[in-house]
């Protein structure tokens, strides 16, 4: 079975073709608008906030994804996917609508069933993309979903079955990275920049809080940590590259400490077999290595998500579409839901 995934919930316009054989997900092609040079007739390649950029970018991304696999769905009926899957939420309403309407138009024109799926479920399912034949993820699994917009702990009990057990009460971890990078004039996006700088810095140089680390629940808070960095930078007059690297390292240590310790506390309580990461911050080198080491220390299996499937993509949306394929219909009336929480 071939599933077409379409994702426009935030900045990225993305499309992917996923082949599902015996329940295993093989990504045939997965493109995001910021990755490829789209032909000029489709407009720019720089992702922006506004939905109009999805309108400009999505047709080119769709076109390219079929071309990459050598399919011509416009003219050949057999080249059309078996199911179309689109992100219906959570996200920014105007951006979601571009994907939903495009998917509805394709479903109607091609007479292919369409299903609307949850973006966060997609992030979790990214862990099963291109999983080698000799590897499986033992369930139940505990997944830390951590990105620019989300920080959540989710118990995964089956394909597409999950329960939210903790979440951020204010800023997402990825947002804290972006804002600290901005405070220190390091540029955007903050995650990779701070990660790189932190490798040259001394992580125990500056003392920063570990918000809610002993709160007894599995919620997070990162707004205060950003404020603490702000005060510290002003008080210690941090301007040199060395001092900035030390502060970046100290900040990263604080974030990773909280994420890892809370995940382990949740694992002790909920006894998963496997611990998983998902979302853009799962690309962070310190988080990946610390979580892997600690999870294994405490006797949990750890399955490391490939870097390319950490950030927003449409292959994960196609996977979510496969899981929910029983709900797919030709030209259904899909309602975008910006607040659709897991």
């Amino acid at each position: 079975m071939i599933v077409l995934g379409i994702e426009t919930s935030c900045d990225e316009s993305a499309a992917a073709l996923l082949e599902v054989k015996a329940g295993r997900f093989k990504v045939l092609a997965s493109l995001i608008s910021s990755q490829i040079k789209i032909h000029t007739k489709y407009g720019g390649v720089v992702p922006e906030v506004a939905a109009r950029n999805h309108v400009l970018n999505l047709p080119g991304v769709l076109d390219s994804v079929f071309k990459e696999v050598g399919l011509s769905p416009q003219t050949k009926k057999n080249d059309r996917p078996d199911v179309i899957s689109v992100t219906r939420g959570p996200g920014l309403i105007t951006s979601l609508l571009v994907g939903v309407w495009t998917a509805q138009a394709l479903s109607l024109a091609w007479e292919v069933p369409l299903v609307g799926v949850n973006h966060m479920q997609g992030h979790i399912l990214a862990n099963w993309l291109d999983l080698p034949a000799n590897r499986d993820i033992e369930l139940p699994a505990l997944c830390l979903v951590v990105s620019g917009g989300h920080t959540e702990l989710v118990m995964v009990t089956g394909p597409g079955r999950h329960k939210l057990i903790g979440r951020t009460r204010d800023d997402a971890a990825g947002e804290a990275y972006d804002k600290v990078a901005k405070l220190l004039n390091l540029g955007y996006p903050g995650g990779p920049i701070i990660d790189r700088m932190a490798q040259k810095g001394q992580a125990d140089k500056y003392e920063l809080p570990r918000p809610m680390i002993n709160s007894g629940d599995f919620d997070f808070s990162f707004s205060g940590l950003k404020t603490a960095v702000r005060y510290l930078a002003a008080e210690k007059k941090i301007t040199s590259a060395k001092a900035k690297a030390d502060l970046a390292a100290s900040f990263q240590r604080a974030v990773v400490d909280v994420l890892v310790e809370k995940t382990l506390a949740a694992a002790e309580r909920h006894s998963p077999k496997t611990i998983l990461l998902a979302g853009g911050v799962a690309a962070n080198s310190a988080l990946r290595s610390r979580m892997q080491a600690e999870a294994q220390n405490f006797g949990f299996k750890f399955s490391l998500l490939p870097l390319k499937y950490t950030t927003d993509n449409a292959a994960m949306i196609a996977a979510a579409g496969y899981i929910n394929k029983s709900k797919a219909k030709v030209a259904p009336n899909i309602k975008a839901d910006p607040n659709w929480e897991l």
Partner: protein, 151 residues
């Protein structure tokens, strides 16, 4: 225009200030917040949401730009929370659906980094709240009420 200045010394006082301001609002009003990173905008919005009876945490809208919440308040049915931090131009506020959202009945909106989008905020219904960081945890709120409108 009427300007009022309020100093708070901790998060609890900022939360209370948000509830006091809410008492003077009408559906359709827009709170325009300005202040540096770490000045207390998040704390203020959380206080506002709490006073409105919003269920669940009000998380940062920086990434998504705009979030909406149903409330338990008798007159104000919806809270629209916007963060203009990532917007490049004021007109981008229209692109994220701001006008559609604030024109729904019983809605109030709160916009962080409002100085970036000031020309798009509803005239006569926008209350400016400028937050300055004082000594230690002190915050100074300068609240500017419009001539026509809520107060």
């Amino acid at each position: 225009m009427k300007t009022q200045t309020v100093k708070t010394s901790n998060a609890a006082e900022t939360t209370k200030l948000a509830a006091d301001i809410l008492g003077k609002l009408k559906p359709g009003d827009c709170l325009a917040l300005t202040g540096d990173l770490g000045s207390g905008k998040t704390t203020f919005v959380k206080g506002l949401a709490q006073a409105l009876g919003v269920k669940g945490p009000v998380t940062s809208p920086t990434f998504l730009i705009l979030k909406t919440y149903p409330t338990k308040h008798p007159a104000i049915k919806r809270l629209v929370h916007v963060d203009a931090y990532r917007l490049e131009a004021a007109k981008d506020l229209v692109e994220v659906g701001f006008s559609d959202e604030i024109n729904q009945p019983g809605t109030i909106s709160v916009v962080e980094w409002a100085e970036k989008v000031k020309e798009m905020l509803p005239p006569g219904k926008t209350i400016w709240i400028k937050i300055k960081i004082g000594q230690k945890d002190d915050r100074v709120f300068e609240i500017i009420w419009p001539d026509s409108g809520s107060n």
